[in-house]
């Protein structure tokens, strides 16, 4: 007996409603657009940190190329979620595109950690329901926040710190999952270098490139060391 999709998604409900509302309030108070654009973005974009970053990009009237790069980079972690679900989504048919579209941090963590039965068809159906329910909570949160922010006036100066707080939380979560501090130091150092030598609009992409380069070099060194050890083993053994 496996728990129903609804029961599995309850923690996400309690997380997505307030976080979606935070985005909606931010959207409606910081920008001069109609409030219902907030839930519309929840339907079309469906990315928490991405949508919150989008508010500051919209407010700054950022160039579209910069928007694309910023969004891609911020959401680049999704690349690695897909990599570990390639097999699981095989044979999902018409549902596959939506399962891929709805792959947020939280949905990923549910889909990869829940217990599974032998019935593949049944499990894909549950995956689909989990993904759809999570997005529903998110869109409802965005709508409620957008409407509240639009109709209730309050001083929202500084509310954009929610994005930084979210990044700090995600960094700690990554550290807890990984048990290593090396990538955190690498990221922090790359940020420091990029901020020291690059103008503000290019700092993010510059720091990402430094990080990727260091990881690539590190991978090559590991691989070469491994290859040397192996050839050493065969000559001595």
């Amino acid at each position: 007996m496996t728990p129903s999709a609804f029961r599995l998604t309850l923690p996400i409900l309690f997380g997505y409603l307030p976080l979606g509302m935070a985005f909606g309030v931010l959207f409606a108070t910081q920008l001069d657009y109609p409030w219902w654009i907030a839930p519309l973005m929840g339907v079309l974009v469906y990315a928490g940190a991405g949508q919150i970053l989008a508010v500051s990009l919209l407010a700054a009237h950022a160039g579209l190329l910069e928007v694309f790069i910023a969004m891609f980079v911020l959401n680049a972690r999704h690349l690695f979620y897909g990599l570990s679900l390639l097999g699981q989504f095989r044979g999902a048919g018409w549902r596959k595109l939506y399962l891929i579209f709805g792959l947020t941090d939280e949905t990923y963590s549910l889909l990869t950690s829940r217990q599974r039965t032998q019935s593949r068809e049944q499990e894909l159906h549950t995956d689909f329901r989990i993904t759809a329910l999570n997005q529903l909570y998110w869109v409802v949160g965005c709508a409620a926040g957008g409407f509240l922010g639009h109709s209730v006036t309050f001083n929202s100066t500084g509310i954009e710190f929610a994005l930084i707080a979210l990044f700090i939380v995600l960094t700690i979560e990554q550290f807890k999952a990984l048990g290593e501090t090396f990538p955190l130091w690498l990221g922090a150092l790359a940020a420091a270098v990029a901020m020291a030598v690059l103008p503000a609009p290019n700092q993010l992409i510059g720091a990402i490139m430094i990080v990727s380069l260091v990881l690539l070099l590190q991978y090559r060194r590991h691989r070469d060391a491994l290859a040397r050890n192996r050839s050493g083993d065969t000559t001595h053994g």
Partner: protein, 114 residues
């Protein structure tokens, strides 16, 4: 009201670009890497890149949200940032941690405490 969105060329193209970039990150592995899932380089990047990117985003945006002139020297953002870390290690509740940093930051900025 729906016409607004279509009349506002910048907003509608902004949303289109945002949708495209976000969906690209989700579908690229399924399009290009279906055969290379087990490649050690992919695994190496998958292991370390997300954590490093999160850390650099936190640092870059924290620096931008702070006032670095005397006598503040960044404390207006560093103190709320430290609160997020402390509360998250204490309770590990994302929303609580976010509120624990955002509310003090708002109070500091609005009251001009520094």
């Amino acid at each position: 009201m729906v016409e607004n969105l279509f009349q506002n060329y910048y907003l509608s193209s902004f949303i289109a670009v945002t949708v495209l970039a976000t969906f690209a990150t989700r579908i690229i592995p399924f399009v290009f890497f279906e055969r290379h899932t087990e490649h050690p380089l992919i695994k190496h990047l998958g292991r370390y890149l997300p954590a490093a990117v999160m850390a650099l985003l936190a640092i870059v945006f924290l620096q931008r949200s702070a006032t670095w002139s005397l006598p503040v020297i960044g404390l207006d953002a560093l103190i709320p940032g430290a609160l997020v870390v402390l509360v998250h290690f204490w309770r590990r509740n994302a929303l609580l941690s976010i509120a624990a940093g955002t509310l003090p930051y708002m109070a500091i900025q609005q009251a001009g405490l520094f």
